[in-house]
């Protein structure tokens, strides 16, 4: 019997001036009906290009298939005509993307977009098409299909949009579904739901799913078989059990070892010295309204937020997107102005201070940003990026330079980095530079807003270790914002859970993990992908599912 999808000796060539000649080399991969194959790898491993190659969507002519074949039920997709490929796309092989907001057309309703899929591939009357569309939306468990069919993409939440995308992809009952990081942009609880949905739909229709992800937790939850990719090579394939329990290739072993465990770190004694106290912080966002009236929307991004921070401790703030965790961080470093409450640094309340009055206190609280690519000025040399802070506070250029070189050493970068520009560094290195910049002013408090969420797992672990090391060495207090409970478990002494602008639970990490008080905290813990696999020999109790 011919296989559903059979990739043999696939080479995908990159443009001449790229880092390596082939994005994907010597790839051998196959997919059977009714199975989920996960392709795992870090960014740049060629996993997404593989998916595009199967769909015939490579950005030609820069990137093209140099060699090899992609057999779909015995038919070589690298050789078929464009017309045939168009027929296959959508009806036989369909795809869901990472970011549903950009994958859906913003000016068309969900109903019209699903309808298009039917119209292009099948002849059937309009009523029938509408009935089928409604049925699909019901199948993907959208809460109100009648409403959703008339909705525009921006009117749905991220999870709902991804469900609509799945509905579109499954409209014609394809034999293969390619999912390119479909849950990366979603919150953990939504992610868990969408993963479950994909699995259910796959089982119901007997679809073969090619699932691309960087997250071994997701793999553990969903995959039947796994293929691990590194720099364009498939280094290991096998069943999920084999690969996760007995990884053969050193790279797979390293990747699995780098997955942060959901085991809380051993608790440490809390210093009695409180460096910061936040009291009843309030921040609301108003939107809409405008010149001609209309109802504005009011969002309580921070509502009655109260916590304190001891010297040398790391406080994690976790929550889903929109929970207000970033707002709290930004209010503390005074990038946003809170409306009410107190931010006490020592005895000074920072909240009401104006820009000029705030300046002398700025150096005490520094921030590490999320996106290492956006947080460094592309036109400024690394040395200047780090040194400009101390110089502004009156250090002589020589002292600042010496300090910068020290810092580069502390964050593990070559002193030669001093004269380079940010684009010469990888994501992890840039994040190190960001950390060095924040440390240059010798702050008491470091606010880190999702500092590792844009990084690959293996680099994540390094950065987390670095942050830990720095905190101990400089006796800093840290506020660590994250959406990933696994990361929070690694670094935080205490964790505060936020939901809709309120801090609903706060406590030592181990207590919080072992006996969460709030239902929402329990849900968050239960939704962590792959938790059953990665509770490796921990003493912590598994959270109730």
């Amino acid at each position: 019997m011919t296989r559903l999808l059979d990739i043999t000796d696939l080479h995908i060539a990159l443009p001449a001036d790229s880092q390596r000649p082939y994005a994907v080399q010597k790839m051998e991969l196959h997919l059977e009906a009714n199975e989920i194959l996960c392709v795992v790898g870090e960014s740049g491993s060629g996993k997404s290009l593989t998916a595009l190659a199967v769909m015939g969507l490579l950005p030609k002519p820069h990137v093209h298939i140099a060699k090899g074949s992609v057999l779909f039920q015995g038919e070589d997709l690298t050789k078929v005509s464009d017309d045939r490929l168009r027929q296959i796309r959508g009806s036989e092989i369909s795809m869901i993307f990472q970011e549903p907001m950009t994958a859906l057309n913003p000016v068309m309703t969900i109903g019209t977009q699903i309808d298009e899929v039917f119209r292009f591939h099948d002849k059937m009357p309009g009523k029938e098409r509408r009935r089928r569309a409604l049925e699909l939306l019901r199948d993907v468990q959208l809460p109100d299909p009648e409403q959703a069919i008339k909705a525009y993409p921006h009117e749905l939440s991220g999870g709902q949009r991804q469900r609509a995308m799945i509905a579109m992809a499954l409209a014609l009952d394809p034999k293969i579904l390619i999912a390119d990081e479909p849950t990366t942009a979603l919150d953990v609880t939504t992610q868990a739901q969408v993963l479950r949905l994909i699995k259910e739909m796959q089982a119901a229709h007997g679809t073969g799913v090619l699932f691309i992800t960087h997250d071994f937790g997701v793999v553990a939850d969903i995959a039947d078989r796994v293929a691990v990719m590194q720099n364009g090579l498939v280094v290991e394939t096998g069943t999920t059990d084999q690969v996760l329990r007995t990884p053969q290739h050193p790279y797979t072993q390293a990747l699995i070892a780098a997955v942060p465990e959901l085991t809380p770190r051993p608790s440490r004694a809390r210093s009695p010295e409180i460096v910061m106290r936040v009291n009843k912080l309030e921040k609301t966002y108003r939107s809409g309204g405008g010149l001609f009236g209309g109802k504005g929307r009011i969002v309580h991004a921070a509502n009655d937020v109260t916590f304190d921070l001891a010297r040398g401790e790391t406080l994690g703030i976790v929550g889903e997107s929109g929970s207000g965790k970033s707002t709290v961080a930004r209010c503390i470093v005074r990038l946003n102005d809170a409306e009410a409450g107190e931010i006490l640094l020592g005895d000074t309340d920072l909240r009401p201070l104006g820009r000029a009055a705030m300046r002398p206190h700025r150096s005490k609280i520094q921030m590490v940003f999320q996106d290492p690519f956006a947080s460094l000025n592309p036109r400024t040399r690394i040395g200047k990026i780090i040194a400009q802070g101390p110089i502004m506070y009156g250090a002589s250029p020589e002292d600042a330079k010496k300090r910068t070189l020290d810092l580069l050493d502390i964050v593990g970068l070559d002193p030669r980095s001093y004269d380079r520009f940010p684009h010469e560094f990888s994501g992890g290195q840039r994040q190190r530079i960001g950390i060095a910049r924040a440390l240059a002013l010798e702050p008491d408090i470091l606010v880190a807003d999702e500092p590792v969420s844009a990084l690959d797992v293996s680099i994540q672990a390094q950065i987390l270790n670095l942050l830990d090391e720095i905190r101990d060495r400089m006796n800093l207090s840290m506020i660590f914002i994250t959406h990933d409970l696994r990361v929070a478990a690694q670094v935080c002494d205490r964790i505060a859970v936020m939901q809709r602008g309120e801090m609903i639970e706060i406590g030592p990490t181990s207590t919080l993990f072992a006996s969460p008080k709030e239902t929402y905290t329990r849900e968050l813990l239960a939704a962590v992908p792959g938790k059953d696999w990665f509770l490796k020999g921990s003493s912590a109790q598994a959270p109730a599912t």
């Binding site: 820069h62 470093v333 005074r334 990038l335 705030m358 300046r359 700025r362 150096s363 609280i365 520094q366 921030m367 940003f369 999320q370 996106d371 956006a374 947080s375 460094l376 000025n377 592309p378 036109r379 400024t380 400009q388 802070g389 502004m392 506070y393 960001g434 910049r437 924040a438 002013l441």
Partner: protein
């Protein structure tokens, strides 16, 4: 890749640059090759090109067309560059303030900008020169006044998108002052589109200057291509060369500047080019 390599990928741009260098050379050496005043009578009037010692002929008053073109090149380039420089500076200041501060300042500055944009630029320039009395300064001012709004809009847009970037916020958390953030951090990141629009504005400025001179609103003491065409337009059928050669000079210069501008654009925004 170096800037030059990227620039040279666009053949047209290299040709444009060559023409531009030639014209600059012509302007620089005008005093050597044509030491006399281009307004002076040099010989037989209405001589066709190549006769009576005139390379490109003479006009109805016996002025040398070739000398006029050489000296006019100086005027055109000078006015083009000066006017653009003034317009870019004003535009950057207005755009930067509007984009960085937003809110009321943005509204105010942008309404002012729109006020300038609603008046057709050439007519506005005529009006300004007519009020101020024609001279090099007034022409430069008039051209700058009608050209800065485009720069302001561009710079404002760039500032709007850059001011919320994390690297700018990082500067805020360091406690950097607004002026330093604007000039030292944001501006260098939006210079490339400004350079591109600026290089194209030079071409527009030359066209406006020629138009003004054609209408007799040029500086009466300075030779200019537009003035030559204006003087020769009544003789178009009997002495075609008087209008034609200055016209070709304008065409070539504007074309060359546009080509160079496009080349700079390709070199500074390489991704834009690959998309097409």
């Amino acid at each position: 890749m170096t800037f030059w390599k990227l620039f040279a990928r666009n053949r047209g741009a290299v040709v444009g640059l060559a023409i531009l260098i030639l014209i600059t050379f012509m302007a620089a050496t005008a005093g050597i090759f044509f030491p006399e005043d281009p307004f002076s009578l040099a010989g037989q009037s209405m001589s066709p090109p190549g006769e009576n010692g005139f390379l490109l002929g003479s006009d109805s008053l016996g002025r040398d067309v070739a000398a006029g073109i050489a000296h006019g090149a100086k005027t055109s380039l000078l006015i083009g560059l000066l006017a653009t420089l003034v317009a870019v500076c004003v535009g950057i200041v207005m755009g930067a303030l509007a984009g960085y501060y937003g809110g009321i300042i943005d509204d105010l500055l942008m309404r002012v900008t729109e006020m300038f944009q609603t008046i057709p630029s050439f007519i506005f320039a005529i009006l300004l020169v007519a009020i101020m009395k024609p001279s090099i300064e007034s022409i430069v001012i008039a051209i700058a006044v009608v050209s800065w709004p485009a720069v302001a809009r561009l710079v404002r847009g760039e500032f709007l998108s850059l001011r919320n970037r994390e690297f700018v916020q990082a500067c805020h958390t360091l406690g950097m002052s607004d002026i330093r953030i604007m000039m030292g951090e944001i501006l260098p990141n939006c210079l490339s589109p400004v350079i591109v629009i600026g290089s194209l504005m030079v071409a527009t400025a030359i066209l406006i200057e020629s138009g003004l001179a054609f209408l007799g609103l040029g500086d009466p003491n300075i030779m200019s291509w537009g003035f030559q065409i204006g003087a020769g337009r009544t003789l178009l059928r009997s002495a075609w060369w008087v209008c034609t050669f200055p016209g070709i000079a304008i065409l070539l210069t504007v074309l060359a500047i546009n080509l160079v501008g496009e080349g700079i654009n390709d070199a500074l925004n390489p991704r834009l080019r690959e998309r097409s």
